[in-house]
Amino acid sequence: MAQKRFTRPVGRRDFLRYAGATGMAVSMAGVLAACREADQPSTGSQGSAQPSFPPIEEEPGGLQVFDWSGYGNGDYYPKEEKKFLWGQYAKATGDTPEFSLFENDDSAYTKVVAGARYDVAHPCGYRYGDWVDLEVLQPWDTSLIPNFSSLNPKLMTAGQFDGQQYFVPLDWGFIAPLVNLDHVDGSDESFGVLFDERYKGKISWIDTLNMMVVAAYYLGIENPWEMTDEELTEVRDFLISKKGLVRFYWNQSYDFWLAFKKGEVWAGYAWPDTVGYADAAGMNYLYMKPKEGRISWVCGLGLFADSQNYRHAHEYVDSWASKEAAEFLLAYYYYGHTNTEADLSVVPDGVREALGLDDPTVLDEPNAHPETRIPRRSVYQQYWSEVQAA
């Protein structure tokens, strides 16, 4: 009999019957769980009175930080990132933050929309409005951030919504073409070098829809951040026509740097870190000041509304806002920092000149166009997807 039990085949009908029964059981369990949940009173924080936060000793710690690679998790400079970016935080709280990383602003935003939650996150300015609209953040109490007074007040406005400081802008930089002058003619400084037939196979674009904006500036479109469908079509078709010139799209700035250093590409969409690496390597480079204007970006920390580490988070952002953190970013990443007390001499002369760090108007129009919120971002993305898929 036992033999019979384990050798009788389970037919398709049997299988479907058991599958149906399993499905029914799971569905009922789901319905019952939902009913039970509906019966319970809401414990959400919406609509509650002005919250009061417990002292830092009563917070759980283990601050959850959602950030770019190399911004504290030790990917690039294990000792220095810890020492300069959150050493002050560790000293003040005795806590070690836990890092979750994102590759770019779009993937970070998507993760949060899909339900991921942390204590602090580090998106860039053109996405701030989208994050605030999600209602997942709460404003900072700047009185708990002693270094806040050292930060550039003009740049702080980028993080303000409804008169409250939802983000503390910290690091800033540019988007402009970086070219190898051994192979590329640098006399005409323009985004056009990224679409120049002469450098076919030696160009690298970034793998985000920012290429749509860059192309729009090059094509002279009036407002690249709010293009119409006709303008988007024009930009898409232009990029598709130029796509054959491009060796690869880069996702990590360091990937672009490696290819630039090896001579696999001669020109590319670049952030200031690559400029610093090229300078340190003694390359004959030019970080262009394109006649269309550089694009500038600023990124900073936001605080999640349901964070259980309210005071830890303020200590963390204060650590990031310190002069030491600023000089670390300047010296190691060649990024700007909103702390105005930072000593610019830590930056090599060539890089300081290339980035225009001594020029107080370097971030002003028309020298640079600040990265701006794109209201129809999903539409831009569709057009960019078509460029990639074409």
């Binding site: 389970v10 399993t22 799971v26 998507t110 899909a114 690869f248 090896k262 001579g263 696999e264 971002r377």
Partner: protein, 299 residues
Amino acid sequence: MAATHEVTIADRGWRRRERRATAGLLAGPLLWLLLFFVIPVGFVAAYSVGAVGLFPTDTGVVSLSSWERLLTGGSVYMGLFWKSIRMSLTVSAVVVLVAYPVGYFLALCVGRRKYVLVLLIIAPFLTSYLLRVLAWKVILGDAGVINSFLQWVGLTDRPIEWLLYSQFTVMLVLAYIWVPFVALPVFVSLNNLDPSLLEAAGDLGASRWRTFVRVTLPLSLSGVFAAFLFVFIPTIGEFVTPLLVGGTSGYMYGNAVQDLFTRGLDWQTGSTLALFLLAVVALLMAVFGRFLRLREIAT
């Protein structure tokens, strides 16, 4: 009569216990399948018609518009799908051609050390997938091993650019990654071959080539088809390798799905593409299963 009645009752009791045992054994796998496949696919289907929305920009209107755009040629993704099919077919065919002799050699030509060699074949799996892909960047780059050698011997005066960041690179790296996977099922099917059949063919005067064509190959076809599917199905949806070494021309269907989900803010189209791929793969499996009659080929 009474005895017959007792037997019937005992038989019924036995059947009841058997049904319970079957249900108990199937419950776990079915629950797993339901929770981690059927329900998620149901969610993906709901996203694909807009019944479920995620982003503030999602309208919440249920429509088949993304399906219509995909299936009527209104989007670029169908072209990308065919491109991925072509690339996957090429990779699968090449991999099977390369891996078959390896499996054959291991199963039929090597003596006692065959399992040591099998271990050597699967040794690359002990290293990270990403590392194995990235290693090719060092080999194929402008200053890489191949370009440096070609220039050193004077065969070229400048680096061959299409070696890296091209469709060729994607297919080469995918082939490299999948060869060991494919060699294993081929090895297993050949290793299980009854050697007396080969001896009989020899005794009847068949040459080695004729023995291979008339006996060995047909008997190992089940392994070959399984191996082909092992490569073809995952490579259609591949996105990591194209991302790392594909450049602008190596972009595949899987990259589009990944982009739409992770940063495209368009889960509706992403879900449509993902479900379409799932349907195609399921269809292919059904066709392979029903018309090729793998079991009959094997026996």
